[in-house]
């Protein structure tokens, strides 16, 4: 009996230790990212990094200003959200309130497939189809613009936005809807004035997670946004090439000598990115917990 109890305890400990690895991984990511990022501030000042308006990693002296990259990321993300939120919420309303079960049985896997397409394929499609199209239609010197990135990212953020919004809309109690319909409201009035307001918190979690998806996406923006590190105008900069934080890391890390100032600067950018998405996830998590929503795609 005693032997058996020890065995059981031992097995539980093994499971606990594996589960703890996830926490350990997160801690290690913080540790290694922040440590290598922090080393930048031994040679250049933190204020120069955070408020610097120039990213010239190869000039002498090199300048590592975060702002062009940060604003690049924000502009592309804002554009993506501007497109994908109306589209995604409309699609979610359609799927949960209007479509027949047969149609939604087709649409749901379709959206999952949308989520499964690799980002490099999106980037490739954007590069060979969307970029020339934007150049032609808008008469720009180059089609590799923030707009191209925003459009591609909006498609990539859609599955997240649609699946969580749909969950939030389906969670609205039937009695609320019936009340509105019984008072003579049309179906649309019910959706617009009763269902949507009731689902708003859940939808906000969807939007926040969509922002997280868009800001962290790498390959697609790297391939379609032109990668010019200047502070973009807002909103007219949407038609200019921009450089995001993610693209900068992907583009430059392969070429820098390990341990150099530039190397640490890229880790510092990575740390900013990590902290940003960490906060975004924490907020979305709080909202999802509160309204008992699923994880989403």
């Amino acid at each position: 009996m005693v032997h058996r109890r020890y065995k059981e305890k031992g097995i539980e400990t093994v499971f606990f230790v594996t589960a703890a690895i996830t926490v350990l991984a997160l801690l290690f990511i913080c540790l290694f990212l922040f440590r290598d990022g922090y080393l930048l501030f031994e040679t250049s000042s933190f204020i120069d990094f955070i408020t610097g308006d120039a990213w010239y990693p190869t000039s002498t002296p090199a300048r590592f200003g975060l702002l062009p990259l940060l604003f690049g990321s924000l502009l592309v993300t804002a554009g993506a959200i501007f497109i994908s939120v109306p589209l995604g919420v409309a699609a979610a309303i359609y799927i949960s309130e209007l479509s027949s079960p047969r149609v939604s049985d087709f649409l749901k896997p379709f959206i999952e497939i949308l989520a499964g397409i690799p980002s490099v394929v999106y980037g490739f499609f954007g590069l060979v189809v969307l970029v020339p199209l934007i150049k032609e239609l808008l008469g720009l010197p180059t089609g590799q613009t923030a707009l191209a990135g925003s459009i591609m990212l909006s498609m990539m953020a859609l599955p997240t936005i649609i699946s969580i919004s749909e969950d939030a809309i389906s969670a609205v109690p039937l009695s609320l809807k019936e009340g509105s319909l019984a008072l003579g409201g049309t179906q649309w009035q019910t959706i617009y004035k009763v269902v949507l307001p009731a689902a708003l918190s859940g939808i906000s979690a969807a939007v926040i997670l969509g922002i997280g998806r868009a800001i962290g996406e790498t390959m697609t923006v790297l391939m379609v946004t032109g990668n010019t590190a200047v502070i973009p105008g807002f909103p007219e900069g949407i038609l200019d090439p921009v450089r995001t934080m993610t693209a900068t890391i992907a583009l430059e890390m392969g070429e820098v000598p390990q341990g150099s100032e530039h190397y640490h600067a890229l880790f510092a950018v990575g740390s900013v990115l990590f902290i940003t998405t960490f906060i975004i996830n924490l907020i979305a998590d709080k909202i999802k917990k509160k309204y008992k929503l699923k994880e989403g795609l």
């Binding site: 990511i29 394929v121 049309t186 890390m253």
Partner: protein, 283 residues
């Protein structure tokens, strides 16, 4: 406008939105399938790149992706399933499980390029594996860990409580109940999660950029410490760098098609398994 006309107009807008989404995906798929189809052949899949990658096939990239998938799945699945068992079968909801769940959610939301940086700092440099299959697989294993844990947890939750109670009431230990009663019932759901993460590993580029992917290798990796070629990275470098981007377009379309088909097949398989399993549960 009266209420009925407004409603008509609103519903039309909703339909137009969903149509826009569907047609975008349809155009993307159709375009890559049509352009890539002409290039696709057995020879394309089984021959080495030739002539400085301007001709020939994608064999090493295809095999590299296969190795990568195999190794990262082998690392992530035991870790993920064990974690899910702990969270669902053993742990009581306390501060510590809250910390673990929070870590899972944040790991799931961490950008893939950050995983790449982490893999570079920890596996390539600190553990001194160098840019290698092992470093890249470990990085990708961490990336898919949340996917595996969530899917396994979801599968374990759906196993009815009565199963456990019946077994425990017969005097069977907790571990044996989990091992022989709960796990077998959860297998389809766990498998679905694993299949989905295969698609994820096959498609990711950013995490392998600095942890081991090579521009060109004339042979397959011979150990876990060698560098490797991979489909998504191959597509990326062919489409963005090099001097013959226009000339090698057909190879790019072919690579994109193979990658897309691979990932879509895996996703469809997961959807089918889940659907089959759900229908079975309903009966």
């Amino acid at each position: 406008m009266d209420a009925k006309t407004t409603e008509k107009f609103a519903f039309l807008t909703l339909k137009a939105s969903i149509l826009l989404v569907v047609s975008f995906v349809a155009i993307l798929l159709a375009y890559i399938i049509i352009q890539g189809y002409e290039v696709l052949s057995i020879d394309f899949l089984t021959s080495m790149p030739k002539n400085r990658m301007t001709e020939g096939g994608i064999y090493p990239a295809l095999m590299g992706t296969a190795y990568l998938v195999g190794l990262s799945i082998a690392i992530a699945v035991p870790l993920g399933v064990f974690s899910a068992i702990y969270l669902n079968e053993y742990a009581t909801p306390t501060k510590s499980t809250w910390v673990i769940e929070m870590a899972i959610n944040n790991l799931a939301g961490t950008p893939s390029v950050v995983f790449g940086l982490f893999g570079l700092a920890l596996f390539v440099k600190f553990f001194d594996f160098g840019p290698s299959l092992l470093a890249a697989s470990l990085t990708l294993a961490l990336l898919i860990l949340p996917v595996v844990i969530r899917a396994s947890k979801e599968a374990l939750i759906t196993v009815p409580l009565e199963y456990r109670e019946a077994s425990l009431a017969l005097g069977v230990t907790k571990w044996k109940t989990t091992r022989h009663i709960v796990l077998p019932a959860a297998v389809p759901g766990i498998v679905t999660g694993i299949i989905l993460s295969i698609g994820r590993v096959a498609g990711e580029t950013a995490p392998i950029l600095f942890t081991g992917a090579a521009y060109f290798l004339p042979r397959l990796p011979d150990s876990v410490f060698s560098q490797f070629m991979a489909l998504p990275y191959h597509l990326f470098v062919m489409a963005t760098s090099g001097t013959n981007i226009a000339q090698t377009r057909p190879i790019q379309y072919g690579t994109a098609l193979v990658l897309l088909m691979l990932v879509l097949a895996v996703n469809c398989l997961a959807i089918v398994i889940r659907k089959h399993y759900r229908n079975k549960l309903k009966r």
